[in-house]
């Protein structure tokens, strides 16, 4: 039977890639393991191998095509003796009968430097951004990089340290271009030593420098958590204010895609528990940039929680010389009147998606993006709840002792008389993240689950 060759996912985070070139022609016989094509991603160029013996019957996507979504059929492999025409007939009902190669390539997203103003509304309600500010489109990854680069230009004491941050430009390519601009003295590759990086970063911060410590992921920060909590968070307090610790611990946090229990978890509540730390968890590129710049300037240890699945998402970012946002301020991501949905990081996207579904059914949800987890901006949440009288908190993470639990408890203390329904919590399942795809889906939050919780809170189900 013929096999459709699909655009492969070459890493857990890859969503699309390009075909640099095909290494075989239509009609060529290939053996399992033969190289078929070179595939390019943002991280790497890799070779696609034939999964089985056969003949390359048809190339569906030609050389040089970019932004091909993972899973898109790019070719057809025939078994020996199989007739291409028959195969096309059998493929026709399932796939587009016209060769996909003939379709125009999807138009590329705007270049990062392309100036747009249309989506300025995305941050127009952010008081830190002046009205009429020009916006540029960029990914969260680029916004984080720009934030670090700007702060490193601003202050010689700022440096980046971590595993693979310099020559490899970050395991998730967040530090692209930094080594070239700032050199090895300020963009520092380390041995594999998370406790070591955290501890020496803290020492350097006590000595007056401003380190940015990158954890390849926050899962690896578990090997450094003693340093972060018992040294970074507490030494200012325990030294009677003699030492300050101006350090940023940053890296991707939260469930990624299909990387199993030890690499898929949200540490937001863990760090937010600790007095002495500030904890930031932005959603958009604008907030990522503005808050990372603020975190680097902050005289306290800041845990800056990024999200691997957000790195490649594109947002509008204000084109300002020094776009910094206050740590500890939530933002109304979508105004509404009927229910307040509180979220942070990638859950904001889930909440916004749910809000669109709800709007179609006549329920106007106000989405509050916390942005900072410590200090927690309860004033903004309470103001919203006093207007809507109902609240659902959405969080990618475990329910017990979560940010959602904290918001819920604080609403009971501060807005009890305004609540018309119990506060709902939509969180990850209370289990280690399953590796298997079917189980992982069950364990993750989704817009559907948020919609269901909102309907319960608004007595619509």
């Amino acid at each position: 039977m013929s096999i459709e060759i699909l655009m492969p996912a070459l890493s857990p985070t890859m969503t699309e890639g390009a075909i640099a070139r095909w290494l075989v022609k239509e009609g060529d016989a290939v053996s399992a393991g033969d190289l078929l094509a070179e595939i390019e991603t943002d991280k790497a160029t890799m070779e696609l191998e034939a999964p089985e013996d056969g003949v390359l019957g048809r190339i569906l996507v030609p050389d040089g095509t970019e932004e091909i979504a993972v899973g898109t059929p790019i070719g057809v492999l025939l078994e020996d003796g199989e007739d291409l025409n028959q195969v096309e007939l059998s493929l026709a009902p399932a796939a587009e009968p016209a060769p996909r190669a003939a379709e125009p390539a999807p138009s590329p997203p705007p270049e990062p430097d392309e100036v747009t103003t249309s989506a300025a509304a995305a941050v127009a309600d952010d008081p830190a951004v002046p009205a009429g500010t020009e916006m540029v489109t960029m990914t969260v990854r680029e916004a984080l990089r720009d934030a670090m680069a700007e702060e490193m230009r601003h202050d010689e004491d700022v440096f980046l340290i971590g595993e693979e941050v310099a020559h490899y430009e970050g395991a998730y390519k967040v530090s692209q271009g930094l080594l070239a601009e700032f050199g090895e003295r300020r963009v520092v590759d380390t041995p594999i030593t998370e406790q070591g990086i955290a501890g020496l970063g803290i020492g350097a911060a006590f000595a007056g420098l401003r380190p940015i410590v990158e954890f390849m992921t926050f899962n690896f920060a578990m090997q450094a958590i003693d340093q972060m909590i018992n040294s970074a968070a507490k030494t200012h307090y325990m030294s009677g204010g003699q030492l300050t610790c101006p350090i940023v611990f940053r890296g991707p946090n939260g469930p990624a895609s299909r990387v199993a229990a030890q690499h898929s978890q949200n540490y937001g509540a863990w760090f937010a528990h600790i007095p002495g730390l500030k904890v930031v968890a932005p959603y958009s590129a604008a907030d990522s940039k503005g808050l990372l710049k603020a975190a680097i300037r902050d005289p306290n240890p800041v845990v800056f929680l990024e999200n691997e699945l957000l790195y490649g998402r594109t947002f509008e970012v204000p084109q300002l010389d020094d776009h910094r946002l206050p740590i500890g301020k939530a933002r109304i991501a979508r105004p509404g009147t009927d229910v307040t949905i509180v979220a942070y990081s990638i859950a904001v996207g889930v909440a916004l998606e749910a809000a669109e579904t709800l709007a179609a059914e006549g329920i106007e949800a106000e989405v509050v993006d916390l942005r900072t987890l410590r200090p927690l901006d309860m004033a903004s949440v309470v103001t919203s709840v006093k207007k809507t009288n109902r609240c659902v908190v959405v969080e990618e993470g475990w329910p017990q002792c979560s940010i959602a639990s904290e918001v819920s408890a604080r609403l009971i203390e501060e807005a009890f008389d305004w609540l018309d329904a119990p506060v709902g919590r939509v969180t990850g399942a209370d289990v280690p993240m399953p590796y298997a795809a079917n189980l992982e889906k069950l364990a993750l939050i989704s817009a559907d689950k948020v919609v269901a919780s909102v309907k319960a809170a608004t007595y619509k189900d």
């Binding site: 060759i5 699909l6 492969p8 996912a9 070459l10 890493s11 857990p12 399992a32 393991g33 595939i39 991280k43 790497a44 160029t45 890799m46 070779e47 696609l48 191998e49 034939a50 999964p51 993972v70 899973g71 595993e163 693979e164 020559h167 490899y168 395991a171 590759d189 041995p191 594999i192 030593t193 998370e194 406790q195 070591g196 899962n219 690896f220 578990m222 090997q223 299909r258 990387v259 199993a260 030890q262 690499h263 399942a429 209370d430 289990v431 280690p432 399953p434 590796y435 298997a436 795809a437 079917n438 189980l439 069950l442 364990a443």
Partner: protein, 362 residues
């Protein structure tokens, strides 16, 4: 000033790069059956890795760490394990796991995204640990198993673990070696020094001349072997395990090899690796070296080597079919999320489990 301590690090090699004996060989090196068995294990691993990488490229495998070029390390070491020994593997430990009875489809299943791959069916591997993906955590786990063996007074039993050279920079590596020394634990640690920690070359990992000397401060024996020489690896690990089983304490063995592949399928070594260094390393690779030795020994002829390759490929295909069948036709039920959460499921979760089952996992 008075000298209190000094140390030396020994290097062991039996086969040179051309597969010729560089030293007096140990007895097992003349045993055709043993030596051909080692060769076929290494060959099976190379085919399995190639297939797993190809499967990842077409979306039928998750991130996979291959062992190409490093086959002699794990194959040689695990060939010394007894049925009473315990293996504590790390993520590039496919060779050691296969050597202690884990089935190829179980390894494919694990890296394919299904935890059932860690439920080893072979009784030989029943007490072995699942793969440690976090860096260096396995070191203290191995020290823990070795402590348990000692506390229970079990004789003739030891623990084998493995770590990359990059992992030796982690605190847990030193903490484990220290306790292994001071408690005289029955433990052997093999460092797979494949020269690369993702993109970080060995010279950026340590200023020490060898990784083997990291044993010195822990007061245990350390030695370096040619990790592309399966005879040297087997000889050194065999002796170290014997010593551990007989109350002689722990050993650190650095096997010097080269990663002739990407770190994992999510990496592209050509972005940072010098092509000349790779070409040089390929000349020293372990499989061809062993083939030359076996041919000279008269243990095999060229035709048999070809037959072995065909047989290894067929074996891998058989295992891939089992893997596909489980992955595609036997998904885990939603109740699996609850079944291994606690030894006994608390009441609160039991209700959730019932609810998930009632909804059919939707």
């Amino acid at each position: 000033m008075q000298k209190l301590a000094s140390f030396e690090v020994n290097y062991l090699q039996y086969l040179d790069e051309g597969g010729k004996p560089a030293n007096d060989l140990p007895d097992f090196a003349d045993d055709h059956e043993v030596m051909v068995g080692l060769y076929r294990s290494m060959q099976l691993l190379r085919h399995l890795d190639a297939r797993a990488v190809a499967l990842q490229r077409v979306g039928r495998m998750r991130t996979y760490p291959a062992s190409e070029g490093q086959e002699a390390v794990g194959v040689g070491a695990s060939s010394c394990l007894s049925d009473r020994d315990v293996l504590v593997p790390y993520y590039r430990g496919t060779a050691m796991m296969l050597g202690h009875g884990v089935q190829p489809h179980e390894i494919l299943l694990y890296w394919g995204g299904d935890e059932r791959g860690s439920d080893y069916q072979n009784p030989l591997a029943k007490e072995d640990f699942p793969i440690a993906v976090p860096i260096a955590t396995q070191m203290l786990h191995a020290a823990g198993v070795a402590s348990a063996i000692k506390l229970r007074g079990q004789k003739d039993r030891a623990v084998l673990t493995e770590i990359g050279e990059g992992g030796t920079s982690e605190g847990e590596f030193y903490e484990a070696l220290n306790v292994a020394g001071v408690w005289n634990l029955p433990m052997v640690c093999v460092i797979n020094n494949n020269q690369w920690a993702i993109s970080v070359p060995s010279e950026m990992q340590t200023a020490a001349q060898t990784y083997a000397q990291k044993a010195v401060a822990a007061g245990i024996e350390g030695l370096q072997v040619d990790g592309n020489d399966v005879i040297a690896v087997k000889d050194a690990v065999g002796k170290a395990l014997d010593k551990a089983r007989n109350g002689g304490g722990a050993t650190l063995i650095e096997a010097v090899t080269y990663r002739l592949c990407d770190h994992t399928t999510a990496d592209d070594a050509s972005r940072y690796e010098d092509a000349k260094a790779r070409a040089e390393a390929e000349k020293k690779e372990p499989l061809g070296r062993l083939a030359k030795y076996l041919l000279n020994l008269g243990a095999v002829n060229e035709k048999q080597l070809d037959e072995f390759a065909v047989a290894a490929k067929a074996e891998v295909e058989k295992e891939v079919k089992i893997y596909f069948d489980i992955l595609e036709n036997k998904p885990q039920p939603p109740s699996a999320m609850f079944d291994y959460l606690y030894a006994e499921l608390p009441e609160r979760f039991r209700a959730q489990r019932d609810e998930v089952m009632r909804r059919g996992g939707e």
